[in-house]
């Protein structure tokens, strides 16, 4: 099987129905994508397929082949994606385990809907569970990134 992950084509020897989650973790050693439920209920395994947020435990390798897959490792080369910066600014993580999935879900949301409202954020991010209860800071961080992003876009317009 062939997958394009974070811009690199990878070959792997597995059954086509293996969930992308386990292929990423066990076969490609990309362990930033987390297992949480295996049923698409918690969002810990969220990755991007062609820019869309998908639960990698619910996508088979066969379904993912041909798509551009982005994992947390590939979201930014330097860890400075605007959402990673916003997460830092708000000290969002507690245990940190769900945060890659949260950031991947949030980045797909803002890419599709830069002006996402509070309700949009709540609706979309309610697919990602956090047992530590970092939701208020996740929400605040997404708002911060929106403002930063908007400010950047505005500055571009002025230029």
């Amino acid at each position: 099987m062939k997958l394009t992950v974070n811009g690199t084509q990878r070959e792997l020897d597995c059954e086509p129905d293996m969930p992308l989650l386990w292929a990423l973790r066990d076969l490609l050693q990309l362990r930033g994508t987390k297992y949480g439920c295996g049923k698409g209920l918690c969002g810990a395994c969220t990755v991007h397929l062609d820019g869309q947020a998908r639960r990698s435990c619910q996508v088979t390798v066969a379904d993912a082949s041909g798509a551009a897959i982005t994992t947390i490792e590939g979201l930014s080369t330097d860890g400075q994606h605007p959402l990673q910066q916003a997460w830092r600014e708000h000290n969002v993580p507690q245990c940190g385990y769900c945060q890659p999935g949260q950031i991947m879900a949030a980045s797909a949301l803002l890419a599709a809907n830069p002006g996402a409202s509070d309700d949009d954020i709540r609706n979309t991010m309610s697919g990602n569970l956090c047992r530590c209860g970092t939701y208020p800071r996740i929400h605040a961080a997404i708002k911060s990134a929106q403002y930063t992003h908007a400010a950047v876009e505005e500055a571009k317009d002025d230029a």
């Binding site: 292929a23 362990r31 987390k34 860890g79 830092r88 940190g96 385990y97 769900c98």
Partner: protein, 748 residues
């Protein structure tokens, strides 16, 4: 101890472990061996077991407690760095292996800071003293004239030597007498009290953080285990041909369990060993298994709770604490109020399920695990494999949440047994279904209260009876009555100045593994106590906050000994940590000032309040809710915490936010039921935990400024939440909900 030897740092840790093993095993804080220094040319100078300094000036500080989200890997080292005058930018935090020389590594009971604040200061001060003495010797001046400041020691003539330049010399010096250590003045604290970002922040945001599930060893197998659906079931029959035929499967292994107390032992199960998780999971589905019945395979949670409720309502239990004459006071009451509360079993459900990796060699074993209790893990693995404890090395990874589940090392024992069998490293990965069905469940409970009010609305009698399966049963199944430690969690330790008071217990035999979950018995008991105070206040026609403050009575230090109750005080003496009602009253008054408690609200909205003392801290919570057409929405939660001196305020706020949301989650949704001995829930669809939509848009936290010794932070924010929300539901709708979760009675 004063003779430096050139040994590796790892060997040093092993040595101190061996030396201290007999003396310090189980000790709360490290013994004198922890202060022995060692010079190692390769890795730097160990000034004591917690601090070493490299020649380049890097200061390595050992975090001996487990990071599960509290920020403890940052908080404890920041105390050391402050006391030794290290520059935080040049500090590297090293995670400790299991070693009793560090003192207790059990990261539970909200006690990392409260137990180790003085120890961390001592370790920092001892290291600083050695560096100052080394500088003094270099310059030939009295040590008293040399002062460490900002990662260097400064002499009387303006001389300066960096910590790195002094390290080798410092490590050769005799240890300072700990009783003469000069401690920094609190006014000079540089990091204590500062919100330093956690040391793992960048790794967590980029997917580089290593949790238990992220460990990968060469040649490693993955194991998925089908366990007995009920406690103490055994494999009756097994057909594994179909499982063995799945591509990638290496072996199917029955893990037998001994009879007797569940303890930290694995549940009997059948493990599939495979080259990847997917193969293991698929093959496991193909197993054909029958399990033998046991004494617990008929357990029904609904019937069991009905039985406990009938018991507490039926009559007197064993008296645990008594003051005055409750029966007489109840007879003379102007008004008598009674109520029965029920709380369900709960599962921990950390986002990372239990995962452990083992590599068993000839006469040795290495474990990598997301464990809250590395030393217990080491002992349990050693016992299971018949090895000496010092033949077992336990590496602690980050924990993707713990909440008490990962205090139990059963999953590491599974990995060790399977690795020995396979002759290869094995990683045991619990599925979410495994995690929820086979947890060390939080106890369910029934509580019955009677209160007497006089004509002025004063409480003249308080009778409380409880029945809840005790944690002790997990280690000794004959234990049926909750312990004094269990009842010290709000139920028997109610701080109320009521003239007549009686606390009683009934037995409750355990049918599942009972464990401790964030704030433990405070969860059910604070719900019962906090709800019943509210019911009394409404019966008396009084404001619930004013009523609670009245119940607290005059400021005093509580000691329950003369009322027949041996209060645990969370393992600390009442001299060191007095239970002062004034601190709870101050927390409640502060909360009342911070929320518009008496604002007039639209119909269907209401405020609710509760407070609890737990883990030596006081927390008060006010919640504002709306109840409309059977739909409950929590609109606001406000919390005020007095946890004594706070090391990292941002992390304390984070624990308050998270602890309150944890409390809200279990209040709204949390319930595990059993039928035929089997847990009826298995994943987040039927054991929901709070999602962003359920969490109020307004959550405000306030920390009381305090110079008192640090007390618990991780757990105290949770207990008052459920009663505050239930009380708010009553204020909003007139509906009194006496059974958790609230989601059984309202849409949530």
């Amino acid at each position: 101890m004063n003779t430096p030897r050139k040994v590796s740092r790892r060997r040093f840790l092993q040595l101190t472990g061996l030396t201290a093993g007999g003396l310090v095993l189980g000790a709360r804080v490290p013994g004198p061996a922890a202060l022995a220094g060692v010079l190692d040319e390769a890795t730097g100078a160990a000034l004591n077991i917690f601090v070493s300094v490299r020649a380049d000036g890097t200061v390595e500080i050992v975090a001996h407690r487990s990071e599960m989200g509290t920020g403890i890997r940052t908080g404890l080292p920041q105390i050391v760095a402050d006391e030794m005058e290290a520059d935080w930018q040049r500090v590297k935090v090293i995670q400790a292996q299991a070693n009793p020389a560090y003192g207790s590594q059990n990261t539970d009971g909200s006690r990392s800071v409260r137990d180790f604040y003085p120890v961390m200061r001592q370790m920092g001060a001892a290291a600083r003293t050695l560096l100052e003495t080394a500088a003094a010797d270099t310059w030939g001046v009295p040590a008293a004239q040399c002062r460490a400041r900002e990662h260097a020691v400064h002499g009387p003539g303006g001389q300066t030597l960096g910590f790195g330049e002094l390290a080798a010399r410092a490590a050769k010096l005799p240890m300072p007498d700990t009783s003469t250590l000069r401690m920094k003045a609190e006014a000079d604290f540089r990091y204590v009290g500062q919100s330093l970002p956690i040391v793992d922040l960048d790794a967590m945001l980029t997917g580089k953080a290593v949790y238990g599930i992220d460990v990968q060893l060469p040649d490693m197998l993955y194991a998925s285990i089908e366990r007995s659906p009920w406690l103490q079931g055994k494999v009756e029959s097994l057909e594994s041909d179909a499982a063995l035929a799945v591509a990638g499967v290496v072996d199917v292994v029955t893990l037998e369990a001994a009879d007797g107390a569940p303890g930290f032992n694995p549940i009997e199960g059948v493990a599939v060993l495979a080259e990847n998780n997917w193969s293991a999971l698929r093959a496991r589905d193909a197993l054909k298994l029958r399990w033998s019945a046991s004494a617990h395979s008929e357990h029904s949670a609904a019937q069991y709770l009905d039985g406990l409720a009938a018991l507490v309502e039926s009559g007197p239990g064993e008296v645990r604490r008594q003051r005055g004459n409750v029966s007489e006071a109840l007879e003379r009451a102007e008004q008598m109020v009674s109520a029965t509360y029920r709380t369900p079993y709960l599962a921990h459900a950390p986002m990372e399920p239990p995962v452990a990796t083992a590599r068993v060699g000839a006469g040795s074993c290495e474990i990598w695990a997301c464990t809250q209790t590395p030393q217990a893990t080491r002992r349990a693995v050693a016992e299971a494999l018949g090895l000496d404890v010092d033949a077992v090395v336990v590496h602690v990874t980050l924990l993707g949440g713990g909440f008490g589940r990962k205090s139990k090392p059963d999953f590491a024992v599974e990995a060790a047994r399977l690795s020995r069998r396979a002759g290869r490293p094995v990683q045991v990965v619990w599925s979410r279904e495994d995690d929820i069905r086979h947890d060390y469940f939080h106890a369910c409970s029934a509580q019955y209260f009677q209160g007497a009010l006089d004509a002025q609305g004063q409480v003249t009698a308080w009778l409380a009876r409880e029945a809840a399966p005790p944690i002790g049963a997990t280690f000794d199944p004959s234990v049926q009555m909750n312990s004094e430690g269990g009842l010290s969690q709000t139920f028997a330790s109610v701080p109320f100045a009521v003239p007549n008071l009686r606390i009683e217990s009934h037995p409750a035999p355990a049918h599942v593994r009972i464990g401790w979950l964030r704030s433990v018995y405070n969860i059910p008991y604070a719900f019962g106590v906090g709800s019943f105070v509210d019911e009394l206040a409404h019966a008396a026609g009084r404001d619930p906050i004013a009523f609670w403050l009245d119940l607290l009575g005059e400021d005093r230090s509580l000691d329950f000994a003369d009322e027949g109750f041996n209060y645990s005080n969370y393992g600390r003496s009442l001299q060191d940590f007095p239970y002062d009602t004034a601190r709870m009253a101050a927390v409640i008054r502060t909360l009342a000032e911070r929320v518009p408690w008496k604002q007039s609200l639209p119909a269907g909205q209401g405020w609710g309040f509760s407070a609890a003392n737990s883990f030596l801290s006081n927390m008060a919570v006010a919640s504002k809710v709306e109840v409309r057409d059977g739909q409950l929405r929590v609109l606001e939660m406000h919390g005020v915490l007095d946890a004594g001196r706070v090391i990292n305020p941002d992390r304390v706020h984070a624990q308050m936010e998270g602890g309150m949301i944890f409390g809200l989650s279990l209040a709204l949704n949390g319930e595990i039921t059993f039928e035929g001995g089997e847990a009826q829930q298995s994943n987040f669809h039927d054991y929901p935990i709070a999602r962003m939509q359920q969490v109020p848009p307004v959550i405000k936290t306030h920390i009381m400024p305090s110079g008192a010794p640090p007390s618990g932070v991780g757990e105290p924010p949770t207990p008052p939440v459920a009663p505050s929300v239930a009380n708010a539901v009553f204020a909003a709708s007139g509906q009194r909900i006496r059974e958790l979760p609230l989601g059984k009675h309202l849409n949530v």
